[in-house]
Amino acid sequence: MKYMLLLASDPADEPTPTDATFGPYMAEWEAYTQALVEAGAMVAGEALQGAETASTVKVRDGKRIVTDGPFIESKEVIGGFYVIDVADLDAALGWAARIPNAHFGTVEVRPVMEFDV
């Protein structure tokens, strides 16, 4: 079963390239992604650029409306995602808890809709 792990955190909590912790932090991400691949659970995963680069699009009455910013203005922003394929929710929650920024951010685990046609 596929689950999407949506990673939200406050960018202020993320180590920056000038921090001493940055190298080890990046190594954690690499190791985590590698572990997903080795377990055969990895479907997709990307890190996203900052929320300040986000645009939102909606179409109303046939007109396209483009605005600056993410869906909801909040301290925690979506910084990346994984799509994983595992046996059940407990397995997905286990992978979610191992995500490096789960220690200061939040991971939302959502089952992916499956269409059997």
Binding site: M1, A87, L89, D90, V109, P111, F115, D116
Partner: protein, 426 residues
């Protein structure tokens, strides 16, 4: 066969049957409906045919047949609606398993029941959904009974259960036997669910005391089941002991008009001494693991009350010491309130009122006692003993305003009037 006996069999067999069916079909709704159908058939046939020699085996066979019926109906439906394909796939393997008529052994049944209970208390379900699912699926209460106990409409409770079961299916919440590590992580959550069912029954927010007592009994049954399934967890034993020792006082907690009676005024002869003995034995078992925890400490406090021959001879020193141990582990306003009451008996009203007044502004305590009538009535009581009459009267008024229970309000009004009687200035 009398309906009482059917009810007894129901108690024993329901969760075993649902648990086995859940393992075999892997779908909560099918397992629940098939078990329900099997019990309906028992209720129709047993009174005329007599109880079968092995009621459990009869129910299991019937339940399996009902499950196959359910799945076949779903499969016919599938021909028109391919989206239900997943259920048809489970049906094929289940048909084969059921036709063998394998009787699960005792260890298997315990594993299945544990899987069912832990699954219903999955932390991905909202707390009220965990409670509702546990009462329906494990305890076997009807949706209507659960709705009445929680004072919501049957439609609301049906929706809550339907949503919970839909999430179990959609998010694929596993109902497998937890590994030892996973069990260690999850057993606390199961204890919380059972504890909240008991609290709902014990501290009734309304007048329906009769239904509430049933909730206490269900919680004790669930705690006993959990203690059987996880026999080496000290906190599970602690919870079971706490519920027994607390519920043993139920018959003396209300007067004939349904109004609460304070611990000090309760007729200790009416306490259930057999239940107290069971609670003390369970507490001793919890202590034997030599690993303390909040439920055990609360059970030890309940044991001190349950074994005191009279209110005056309660070992308040020991009660206070236990609250001092409990408070840092469970820094809640409610525990702080109970500690302040114990402090009143050990060091007097001055110390107690200082401790009580420190609770609402404290920011390291969880929960809020300001809307809790007992907090204000306890303050009122102590203020009266300090001759601070106006403040005492105001505190009683506040307690009455907070109470949502008519019998409690009338009890508090009586005490407010009683205050007038002893107030030298009124």
């Amino acid at each position: 066969m009398r309906s009482v006996e059917v009810a007894d069999v129901f108690r024993d067999e329901w969760s075993r049957l649902v648990a086995t069916l859940m393992r075999e079909v892997g779908d909560l709704t099918i397992a629940e409906d098939a078990a329900q159908d099997a019990f309906v058939e028992a209720a129709v046939r047993w009174p005329t045919d007599g109880i079968p020699d092995r009621p459990g085996a009869w129910l299991m066979t019937t339940g399996r047949r009902k499950a196959i019926d359910q799945i076949r109906r779903a499969r016919r439906f599938d021909d028109r609606l391919p989206a239900l394909g997943a259920q048809a796939a489970t049906a094929t393997s289940f048909d084969a398993a059921a036709s063998d008529e394998v009787e699960p052994d005792a260890a298997q049944i315990l594993d299945d029941q544990l899987a069912l209970l832990v699954g219903c208390c999955h932390p991905s379900l909202a707390p009220d959904a965990q409670v509702a699912l546990t009462l329906r699926i494990v305890a076997g209460l009807s949706t209507r009974q659960i709705a009445r106990a929680f004072l919501v409409s049957e439609e609301t409770m049906t929706r809550r259960l339907t949503r919970a079961k839909a999430k179990v299916r959609a998010a694929r919440i596993p109902f497998g036997v937890p590994t030892l590590d996973a069990l260690g992580e999850r057993v606390g959550g199961v204890c919380e669910v059972i504890s909240s069912i008991f609290t709902e029954g014990h501290a009734s927010a309304t007048d329906t005391a009769f239904i509430r007592g049933e909730l206490c009994e269900e919680a004790i049954r669930l705690a006993a089941l959990l203690a059987k399934l996880v026999p080496t967890d000290p906190e599970v034993a602690g919870l079971h002991a706490l519920l027994l020792l607390t519920d043993a006082r139920r018959m003396s907690r209300l007067d004939r008009d349904g109004r609460p009676i304070l611990l000090a005024d309760q007729d200790r002869e009416r306490w259930d001494h057999q239940m107290i003995a069971r609670g003390l034995a369970e507490l001793a078992r919890a202590h034997s693991f030599q690993h303390g925890g909040p439920f055990q400490i609360q059970a030890a406090i309940a044991a001190l009350h349950a074994t005191a021959p009279a209110f005056e001879t309660t070992d308040w020193q020991a009660v206070l010491r236990l609250y001092d141990v409990l408070l840092p582990r469970e820094p809640s306003a409610l525990v702080a309130l109970n500690r302040a009451i114990a402090l009143d008996h050990v060091r007097g009203p001055e110390a107690a009122i200082a401790a009580l007044d420190a609770i609402p502004p404290a920011d390291d305590l969880t929960g809020d006692v300001d809307g809790y009538p007992y907090f204000h009535s306890a303050r009122a009581d102590i203020l009266a003993r300090l001759d601070r009459w106006d403040e005492a009267a105001a505190a009683f008024e506040r307690a009455i305003a907070c109470s949502t229970n008519e019998s409690e309000r009338s009890f508090l009004r009586r005490r407010l009037q009683g205050l007038g009687g002893v107030n030298p200035r009124s």
